[in-house]
């Protein structure tokens, strides 16, 4: 039976002088979950992680890990371990000593220690590096040592503070897959802090999007992408076109909206994820708009526009289209480059009503 509130945060707030870093927040994380805290810098995600680790004490609220209240426990007593953003490998001792650093209290024999170190180095595929020092390791290797050093303690929770931020793109993508596999293999709860939405999406079971000290949405990655609860989330996750609109009519089931350049349309209220408010936006993912030179017969709505910019990304092509009455260029993507449309060509954009999301 999976424990759904393995980690429990209740009414957590953290104030630094007058700045509210975390604002009365509740959060449950299941045992064995890969959970990401995602948000722009300064949104409070790192503060929240440090509260979990015990480096910061919350101004209000309580932290529970595995049913015990750890709110006032110092980091050394908590069943969590952390992988730091800059890895924090002790520079004065070698990899072997770094990894066994946290095992001193367990009073193991030399053989047992060596075995544990070997085991954890194998986990991160860094066997044979026992004698190296931090300055003899690459960024990726340091990261693995930091991971091994935390995992050797067999923590109940592993906290990761943007551990991939300093790596180059290729290595980062490899590490994402490796981390995910490692987490599945070990079954340890991972809490992963990042500002990179791609990273959060590819690895996590669930993602919490944070802004200004609050959690805006907690969802599995797919749902986050397809059903953003508000404008902020929709913009933060992936690319999106936001069109201004206004409510003309409303009844129990339907909303009638006036969308610039598209005209009046009826929408079922079910597709509306946000709370109702005055400032509603029609949100369209770039791949939800199709593009052709001539009119698109299969689409519910056709709009004319002029292609201003074409960006080729290999697996997809992005078109930036100027449509009269809309200030921003519309972003349209095409996964197979079958349309030969060039810059300054006239084009037709096709939208199906079912693909439209409404956010505010």
């Amino acid at each position: 039976m999976v424990n759904n509130d393995f980690i429990k945060l209740r009414n957590i707030s953290k104030k630094f002088d007058d700045v509210i870093a975390v604002d009365s927040l509740d959060l449950d994380i299941s045992e064995g979950e890969f959970f990401s805290l995602l948000g722009p810098s300064g949104c409070g995600k790192t503060t929240l992680l440090r509260i979990l680790a015990g480096f910061e004490y919350p101004t209000t609220g309580s932290v529970f890990i595995d049913n015990s209240d750890v709110t006032n426990q110092t980091p050394n007593l908590r069943p969590s371990n952390m992988v730091f953003q800059n890895y924090a490998i002790f520079p004065h001792i070698n990899v072997q000593r770094n990894i066994e650093f946290g095992l001193r209290k367990e009073k193991l024999s030399r053989e047992e220690l060596n075995l544990r170190v070997k085991e954890s180095l194998k986990m991160v595929q860094l066997e044979g590096y026992e004698e190296r020092f931090s300055n003899q390791l690459s960024g990726g290797q340091r990261q693995r040592v930091a991971l091994a050093r935390a995992l050797v303690k067999r923590p109940k929770v592993l906290l990761l503070d943007e551990p991939l931020g300093a790596l180059d793109k290729k290595l980062r993508e490899e590490m994402q897959i490796e981390l995910r596999n490692l987490q599945k293999e070990l079954g340890i709860t991972f809490i992963f802090v990042t500002h990179d939405q791609e990273e959060a999406m590819t690895m996590s079971d669930r993602v919490a999007v944070m802004n200004e000290g609050k959690i805006l949405q907690i969802s599995p990655p797919k749902e986050l992408y397809n059903k953003p609860v508000n404008k902020f989330v929709s913009e933060f996750i992936g690319n999106i076109n936001l069109l201004e609109t206004s409510i003309i009519d409303e009844n129990d089931k339907n909303l009638t909206l006036d969308i610039l350049n598209i005209g009046k349309q009826d929408f079922n209220k079910n597709i509306f994820n946000s709370k109702l408010s005055e400032n509603i936006f029609v949100a369209l993912r770039p791949e939800d708009i199709s593009i052709k030179k001539e009119k698109i017969e299969t689409a519910d709505i056709n709009i004319k526009g002029i292609v201003k910019n074409v960006s080729f990304y290999g697996e997809s092509t992005y078109f930036y289209v100027k449509v009269e009455g809309i200030n921003k260029l519309l972003m349209v993507s095409n996964f197979v480059d079958q349309v030969s449309i060039n810059e300054n060509d006239e084009c037709s954009l096709g939208i199906n009503l079912e693909n439209i999301k409404l956010v505010s």
């Binding site: 680790a53 015990g54 480096f55 110092t74 980091p75 050394n76 969590s80 371990n81 952390m82 730091f84 953003q85 800059n86 924090a88 002790f90 520079p91 004065h92 650093f101 946290g102 001193r104 209290k105 050093r149 935390a150 303690k153």
Partner: protein, 267 residues
Amino acid sequence: MYKKNNSLLVYCIFYFLFLYIPVFLLPIFSFNDSFHMVFPLKGFTFDWYIEMWNKARLHKALWNSIKVGVITAIISTFIALFAAKAFTRYRVKYSGLSYGALLLPFIIPEIIIAVAFIVIWTSMGLKLGLIPITISHILYCTPFCLLILISRMDGFDKSLEEASMDLGENIFGTFWRVTFPLLLPGIIASLLLSFVISFDEFILAFFLSSSDQTLPIYMWSQLRFPKKLPHVLALGAIIIVATSFIVMLSYWFRNLGQSNNNRGSHI
């Protein structure tokens, strides 16, 4: 490309000559077979060094200086270590003000400290001697130690201490296993430098000493007798060599294990 500027080189040479000629005269005359410090040099001799070797009062003064220096070095480094930790790791209230207050002995003329100290010390009915000298030297040396240790502490990452806490060590274990070994070069540099400062210090020792002389006071007392000048020169020559060596050693320790881009960025 710009042209090599020779006038700058000449300036540098003159600068160093100006600084060091008087200092180098000391060792030269210490081997000179004459009581007077005048050119031309006479014969070469080790006599003054041998004479120095046989002075019991000099030995006592040297021993006093070492005692004062070692105790000063240990205590002022100890004080500075905690102050440096506070300034770099915690959010200290009025940190600017207290930092300034700690560095004040730097700026106050030594003679003022000496006068103030002697007034307070004697008005409390306490005896002059090595103890007040040591206390005043601790006051005087702490700012130097603080500067060395703060620069060392700034150079190392706070998350190393956090990592240690996270891995199960309490604050004492963290200090002993992480902070201390990483600060060790700075601590040694601070010990050496404060020892040298105390060892060379004259004004405070002059005011606060009674019959117990430190080495600089001993040298001063000998200068009154022309016949005794040469062995003071010999002593001075040895002190120059020894203290330069210690200062260089302290500088080397201070930069030990720090990354290259930090090296030499502070004096």
